[in-house]
Symmetry: C2
Subunit: 410 residues, 2 copies
């Protein structure tokens, strides 16, 4: 792969124009958009407008005049386009964690005789923590059973109320077969909750094509919604009227401004809203989501596969080939938008890369993780990052006091 080959990839990239839609520091190769997506040009302008004009000038009138009330459903409908859902099946609300709790409790209550929540160990832990919380609240003999990915299907039994899985693994990037696992769960009468945090905005997700029941996802990764952006949740239309959110707040009430004492859930997806929506966060998220809608998921997914392929192949052909262990599926269609390698000095290597203006992240105990957001990244950046990684690892230059791990790592 010569420099000319890489330049040709960028020249032929149908998404290359989207790089101008992001604000990124000059010279930085940012491979952490899977953890915090970069600022969008539209988001920057929109936030200034929302702050100075909408909040500053319209004040309370902003709820109606700028449709702050409608934003969670409006942005939800756009996210729906990215994940194979229909309008009215997705809403922006709360955090991914809180949304998972809502759906887990609602799903368990919809399968009252079944005592098991089935999930996988070692994937993003907040999902398991929230399931623990949901089970602790519902009680009544319910329990969490964890099985490795390969054992999920054999663990599906008539005692399973709900199966909870991440679509793309936060460390390994491995993609679960949504259609097959959903069908397997349905065969025993269980519901499935998919966590799309590491797939929305980078992979093609077809919730309704897979007959998915429920899903949650993150707004601040590939959707580029900003730090701590609000999350979203999906409830298939066929389930909407039979599930009730435990977080039955006024924004999910059928008539919030009648100020009735009794809760009556809104029809449709709106019942899964809870408190007052975070207007600043939803506004920035909307701008990020629009970019993905405009680019289209097929092109985004194709570029994610090509960027990760380029990165892996250059590392494999370079001086660090025998020193890094690929922790990600080698087949591009089996992995998401990030690539992970194992190395016992992973922490120091990631620090050394940051010092060279290549930002990836480290995940305990030995994972170097590199995210390839298709819209802001070029093939040239991907290639250059692979070369720098090869140099740092093969030279041992990461073995430096500045790069050693401190006691408290966040």
């Amino acid at each position: 792969m010569t420099d000319a080959d890489v330049m040709a990839l960028d020249a032929a990239d149908p998404l290359r124009g989207f790089r101008d839609d992001f604000c990124l520091p000059e010279g930085l190769i940012y491979l952490d958009g899977n953890s915090l997506g970069p600022l969008t040009v539209a988001g920057r302008a929109r936030l200034a407008l929302v702050v100075e004009q909408e909040w500053g000038q319209s004040l309370i009138r902003g709820w109606n005049d700028h449709d702050w009330f409608g934003a969670p459903l409006r942005v939800g409908d756009r996210i729906a386009e990215l994940v194979g859902a229909d309008p009215g099946e997705v809403i922006v609300a709360d955090s991914t964690s809180a949304n998972l709790y809502k759906l887990a409790v609602a799903a368990m209550q919809a399968r009252p005789g079944r005592k098991v929540v089935l999930s996988e160990p070692g994937d993003f832990p907040t999902d398991l923590y929230m399931l623990e919380g949901a089970i602790r609240t519902l009680g009544d003999g319910r329990r969490l059973e964890l099985r490795p990915s390969s054992g999920i299907e054999s663990a599906l039994s008539p005692d399973v109320a709900v199966l909870v899985l991440c679509h793309a693994h936060y460390k390994t990037s491995a993609i679960r077969d949504m259609k097959r696992l959903t069908a397997a769960a349905h065969a025993v009468g269980a519901l499935v909750i998919w966590d799309l945090s590491h797939s929305v905005g980078v992979l093609e997700v077809d919730l309704n094509g897979c007959e998915a029941d429920l899903a949650v996802g993150c707004g601040y990764k590939y959707l580029n919604g900003g730090p701590g952006a609000p999350a979203f949740l999906f409830v298939a239309r066929r389930h909407q009227d039979s599930l009730v959110s435990p977080l039955s707040g006024w924004m999910g009430h059928a008539a919030p401004f009648r100020f009735e004492d009794r809760y009556s859930p809104a029809g449709g997806i709106a019942r899964f809203a809870c408190g007052t929506p975070p207007v600043l966060g939803v506004s920035a998220l909307e701008c990020g989501v629009e970019l993905s809608v405009r680019a289209g998921m097929p092109a985004i997914r194709a570029k994610a596969a090509a960027l990760t392929e380029l990165f892996i192949s250059i590392v494999e052909a370079g001086p660090a080939a025998g020193l890094l262990e690929l922790a990600t599926p080698r087949d591009a269609l089996s992995r998401g938008g990030h690539v992970s390698f194992r190395h016992p000095d992973g922490y120091a290597i990631v620090q050394a890369l940051i010092a060279r203006n290549v930002i990836g992240d480290f995940r305990d105990p030995d994972i170097l993780r590199f995210g390839f957001s298709p819209l802001p990244l070029s093939f040239a950046q991907s290639a250059r990052a692979a070369h720098i990684l090869g140099e740092v690892v093969s030279s041992g230059d990461y073995d430096h006091p500045d790069y050693r791990r401190r006691a408290a790592v966040t």
Copy 2:
């Protein structure tokens, strides 16, 4: 009360300088800071910095370099200064609704043999909706009992697990006696959750002086945190280690970045965090909170009493005296920062006032509500609004097609 008298009040106002800390449209009298506080000058600058520099340039490094991780506890400690709590007893997180759910479930689980949650009808409804949700999740024969304010103490029995009350009523502005009611609940072994949404930032609250157990509150009213700002919660230190949040997300874990499969609650108030904190919202909130801390609650509370007193007394002395029914305690120390009147044409009157650049709000079925945020408001504005209200009501000028209620009111 002459114009000169009113000018003298403003001249003697120790908080008059704070009016320059807010961005408000020229000529507008904004009496809805109890619903959405106005934009602060500091918040506007801070949000631009957070967006363009922190998110835009620091990207993922912002979590450590700009202490985004520490913000919920840092801002919580400042709010603690406003409500009579100690450092480490308040955290910013989620919405008021979600926080109430967390504390209600945790409190009920701490009193497992008791089946009753006691509250008051007709106060802000999301509190009741969340209690319904918490009870529906926990089940086991628990129930919500509602008693009018006057009957709360007699309804306290050994079957009450938790009493949930708003400190200042969202419609009438009446203040509950926190110390007496807390003591009465404790006498029967119940815990109390106080909703401070309509008192934080406008009234002197002394949670620890009242031996309060638990509290929640809103960030976007008198704290001026922006539309949909994150909320906060308080847990008295003596309860922190024995209560566990049902929303047991990774940000409340003892070591979130160890990515363990099992939930271990963090020590202290941090365990009541859930998902990733909303950085934009927390940043704007911090600027609003700082203003209240700087002004000091005694001065703020005194000005709230004086502003509402001036407003009521001018209305009472004016042409609408017999046409409006005061729905708020006449004694300044018994009411919060807002003043409500009843009128059968309340909706139209509020619209007519808005057309005259006086913004209050309407609450079903007949409440005209006017909020007096002490920091951005002057006595002259308060007096002028009272005169305009008197004119509109006494002239009948609100009886106009433009001011009639439309079918859907939000």
